[in-house]
């Protein structure tokens, strides 16, 4: 079983679209959407039997009003301005669950409680089983939720004897990305030929380098700016990152996405490009 994680640094480069299209060409796989802030992968699939499980990802202060003597200590000590001034109520969106108010409260009116911050879903789709998740508004993305999604995906893949786990990774370069990459056999970097795409790609490559796993490059909309595209390719080549494919700025992709379809089913050239990507990934990972 091989695990591939698709990441991008910058948002909106086509990471999810790429992932779904690649998924349709791989046999016997489990999909995992680790982009828990904008979980979009399932929108390109036909989902059935979506089972939800609540996810508790944070602690918040909870107050027992009966015990409160309005001493204002919690208000004085809270550095997150999470306690209201007059009634000493807890503002959930501000509370960071540090426990200082619990510590200073003389009457034990406060305690920390684990709260639900999201939902993890397991579903069957036309492209294979998928694990995805979403956070409630105001909850912070955590490596813990990403790890949870990945854990469920690998358990499922193990149980069903799958060959591939394909992960739609988190954008950015912070801890969710690191959690997305942890334990993967290969990283696929999807970028676009823009200055901001390039600058974010450089930052994400630094993260990938630490994992000692092979990485492949996909330049989306490469013909938008062939000069930047070439710079990106050269930059990656110097670091030993092979170009898997370059995808043009294409009407077919736009149209397919609008309809929620896969572009590999609507354009033979693009399909061939993606088949080549699959082949190169297999070569890199020495599969078959």
């Amino acid at each position: 079983m091989k695990e591939i994680t698709v990441i991008s640094g910058k948002g909106g480069t086509g990471k999810t679209t790429f992932t779904a299209n690649l998924a349709s060409l791989l046999d016997n796989l489990v999909l995992a959407d680790c982009d828990v802030d904008a979980p979009n992968l399932h929108l390109l699939l036909k989902i059935e039997n979506n089972q939800a499980e609540s996810y508790k990802g944070a602690k918040l202060a909870v107050k027992n009003q009966d015990l409160c003597i309005n001493c204002a200590k919690c208000y004085d000590y809270c550095r997150f301005k999470a306690i209201t001034a007059e009634t000493f109520e807890i503002k959930d969106l501000k509370c960071e669950g540090c426990g200082v108010c619990v510590e200073v409260c003389p009457t034990e009116a406060l305690r920390l409680e684990e709260i639900e911050t999201g939902t993890v879903y397991q579903a069957i789709s036309d492209l294979g089983d998928i694990i995805h998740a979403r956070l409630i508004p105001g909850a912070d993305t955590s490596g813990k939720l990403v790890s949870e999604v990945k854990k469920k995906a690998s358990e499922l893949a193990e149980k069903k004897k799958k060959d591939w786990i394909l992960i739609d990774g988190s954008p950015g370069i912070g801890c969710p990305v690191i959690a997305s990459l942890n334990g993967s056999d290969m990283a696929v970097l999807v970028t676009e030929a823009t200055l901001s795409g390039f600058s974010d790609l450089k930052r994400v490559i630094e993260v990938v380098n630490h994992f000692k796993i092979p990485a492949g490059l996909v330049i989306n909309k490469y013909d938008l700016n062939t000069e930047i595209s070439q710079k990106i390719e050269n930059y990656c080549q110097d670091l030993g990152i092979e170009t898997l494919t370059k995808i043009p700025y294409s009407r077919v992709i736009v149209e397919s996405l609008k309809k929620g379809e896969l572009f590999v089913n609507n354009d033979q050239d693009l399909r061939n490009k993606m088949l080549k990507v699959k082949l190169k990934i297999k070569e890199t990972l020495e599969v078959r």
Partner: protein, 119 residues
């Protein structure tokens, strides 16, 4: 020598190594004096923040001499090193016995700190 290795379940030397240090389900403890194997729950795995540091604290509290794994975040690495624990890098090994055998034959190299997942 007391060796701690992240493990997917309570099992035997045939059990798989967990890919993640901080969020591993269990730690296998191998005593190299007598080749005895035991397991402990990783109490750090459910922490929403700093699981790596908490797991390192657990290894320190269990008086590990050696810790091995695929990937260590910078903070866990720093904590383990500060305790004088030898931190070894795994790569191709999949099962506990493979890691342990490679350790005994001196094939494992010192790990480097990688990027960390703080939360």
């Amino acid at each position: 020598m007391k060796i701690l290795i992240p493990a997917v379940k309570v099992g035997s030397f045939e059990t798989e190594i967990h890919e993640n240090f901080g969020r591993a389900e269990f730690f296998a403890i191998v005593d190299s004096e007598n080749n005895r194997l035991s397991f402990i729950s990783n109490t750090a795995k459910n922490q929403s923040s700093g699981a790596g540091v908490a797991a390192a604290q657990l290894c320190v509290d269990k008086e590990a001499d050696v810790v091995m794994g695929y990937h260590f975040g910078p903070k866990a690495y720093q904590a383990l090193k500060a305790a004088g624990i030898k931190v070894l890098d795994l790569d191709q090994q999949k099962l506990l016995k493979e890691a342990y055998n490679d350790y005994k034959s001196g094939e494992l190299v010192e790990a480097q700190a990688g990027p960390g997942a703080h939360h």
